[in-house]
Symmetry: C2
Subunit: 343 residues, 2 copies
DNA sequence: GTGAAAGCGCTAACAC
DNA sequence: GTGTTAGCGCTTTCAC
């Protein structure tokens, strides 16, 4: 492989000169046009390729960003990633994937980030327990760090997420405007206020209270990370059945995610319950299938790509130290909601 | 940051010794247990972290694998990626994301891979045109390279994909077994035999011929990469309408992907056409929403994760030079197919 | 078994 | 403007 010395030799200049020419932007040193051109020419003649590893080693900066992600095969992951990639790309950074399994994000993951001298880390949906003992270590390393959609964002760490609260509020207001009163909420595994599902649940409760429907609140919990291949026997299905068996039955079910909403719609269909005529259902996320579903799902669109871009932006230009950034999410009304049955 | 010299100094040995201890596996040099332990101890005492950048620079190997992916926000991407990550992780490799837009995969992308001295490259759904002039350049660099689901796999390059042909054949046989004869195919943007949609189409035609239904073949093309947010006005919707307006109407539509199938089912529902009672529909991929759809979609499950793992495996241990690897895909029968209406 | 020393390819003072 | 030079942190002969 051609090195800088080869170029220097052939161009009849020193290695330093070549380096200067190649990094024009980063240095105050000016090289005369003739020399410059000669160097550039020989470089391309020889097929010279800079060695980023060597550069990174010296400068200590790797222009690589770690993207920690749970081994979840969901669409949101790839959409946030897509945004992060674009932003990274435009700034000559790379995204390096670091996966972790089983709810455990061990020190080894961080270790590898340090060993590679990463320029920053994005943690997507990082489990709380792991973060608790990992965050101090991260702080110590000095590697810029942001979380995305953290279920339990520590106060001393930037968390980027969609505006779950206003999104859920919009859902409730939409349903109420249609005439619904018995609006139930179907959440994720746990009901913690801090979790994503919890944030949406809280917004649901607040919104219900604000419109005077506090008494009508009805909440059930399914499994946020359900294995969809066997969803029929899952806790989400069980929770749905509880809701559909209730008397009086809710006229609308606000779900914590699109996938949960789809389970509800499936189960309703199996019972011969018409959505939206007899039951309104809403989701949250706006995954691809939401618009293709039968009926198309009323939901809240999350700005996934912008979340990814924003995360990268914060890492590469450590701006203001706000503790959290909340990106707008907006209601998308489709066919799964309608006025409640007149009965 | 603590370096190897610091450890050496404190442990009272030379830098070389430390290096030996730290890389025990890769070298034939043996270090005595006492020295070894002393070094290890001081290293952890000092909080030493190896500098992978430096190691990579010297050895010329980066243990980083590039994952080229179209800016497509689809679920298959993340599922293949998940598999690749796991395999990489288990072998102490990294996945580095490289995105590209607009059907163009320019030399710049490859350039960056060379500059980082990547240990291998995985190209996911790489556009044919770009590959044609990129492949020779890649060959030249000597960087191991595999393609995944290439629409036009060059003969001199390993391509990994699911068995589209047998999957589609299983679909047709399933439909025929149910009594269908007028089975249409709804494909992607173009009908090239080489494209993925084309491979499925070809299998469809072959299977139809084999069961003596050659005359019943009916093929329409939608847009493989449809923007689903506006699918109603897209070419896939138009193609679907053509199929549903045909006389006699097909009793089954085999679609080239799950998302296309969902569009068909939506449109059928809008016309009051019952799926599966009046029309059977099948997909391909088995995305998450397929099992949650209403009705649940009969489709072919692709071994996405295994595809990802396999790609990585081929890169890090350049095994036999088979031109292509085809992984089994299997039929998943759900509720969107039924015997044709008796009429 | 351990150490000395020569680099890997490049950057960044500092001279001239 | 350009060249000299000293490293960056590590691996790897080659002696001892």
């Amino acid at each position: 492989m051609i090195t800088i010395s080869d170029v220097a030799a052939k161009a009849g200049v020193s290695r330093a000169t070549v380096s200067y020419v190649l990094n024009e932007k980063n240095t105050s040193v000016k090289i005369s046009a003739p020399t410059r051109n000669r160097v550039l020419e020989t470089a391309s003649e020889l097929g010279y390729r800079r060695n980023e590893l060597a550069r990174a080693m010296i400068t200590g900066k790797s222009r690589m960003l770690g993207f920690w992600v749970m081994q979840s095969n969901r669409e949101p992951v790839v959409r946030v990633l897509a945004g992060a990639m674009k932003e990274a790309d435009e700034n000559d950074y790379f995204i390096k994937m670091l996966g972790f399994d089983n709810d455990t994000l061990d020190s080894r993951t961080l270790e590898r980030c340090i060993e590679w001298r990463l320029a920053g880390i994005i943690a997507f949906h990082a489990p709380e327990e792991s973060m608790r003992h990992l965050l101090p270590q991260i702080k110590e390393t000095g590697i810029p760090f942001v979380m995305v959609d953290s279920q339990h964002p520590p106060t001393d760490c930037l968390n980027i997420e969609a505006d779950h609260a206003s999104g859920m509020t919009a859902i409730v207001e939409h349903l109420v405007a249609q005439g619904h009163r018995r609006i139930a909420f179907l959440g994720g595994r746990n009901g913690n206020e801090d979790s994503i599902s919890g944030a949406r649940e809280k917004a649901y409760r607040n919104a219900m209270e604000r419109v005077g429907l506090h008494r009508e609140c009805q909440v059930e919990y399914g499994d946020w990370r359900a294995e969809f291949s066997q969803w029929e026997s899952g806790t989400t299905a069980a929770a749905t059945h509880r809701l559909l068996n209730a008397t009086p039955r809710p006229t609308a079910i606000a779900c914590a995610s699109d996938h949960i909403a789809m389970i509800v719609m499936r189960l309703a269909a199996e019972r011969g319950l018409q959505v939206p005529q007899q039951l309104s259902v809403t989701g949250f996320d706006d995954v691809t299938a939401a618009t293709l579903y039968n009926p198309p799902l009323t939901t809240v669109a999350q700005p996934f790509e912008e979340i990814g871009r924003s995360a990268v932006r914060h890492l590469i230009s450590p701006s203001s130290q706000q503790p959290s950034q909340v990106l707008p999410a907006h209601l998308v009304v489709r066919g799964s909601t309608l006025k409640p049955p007149s009965k």
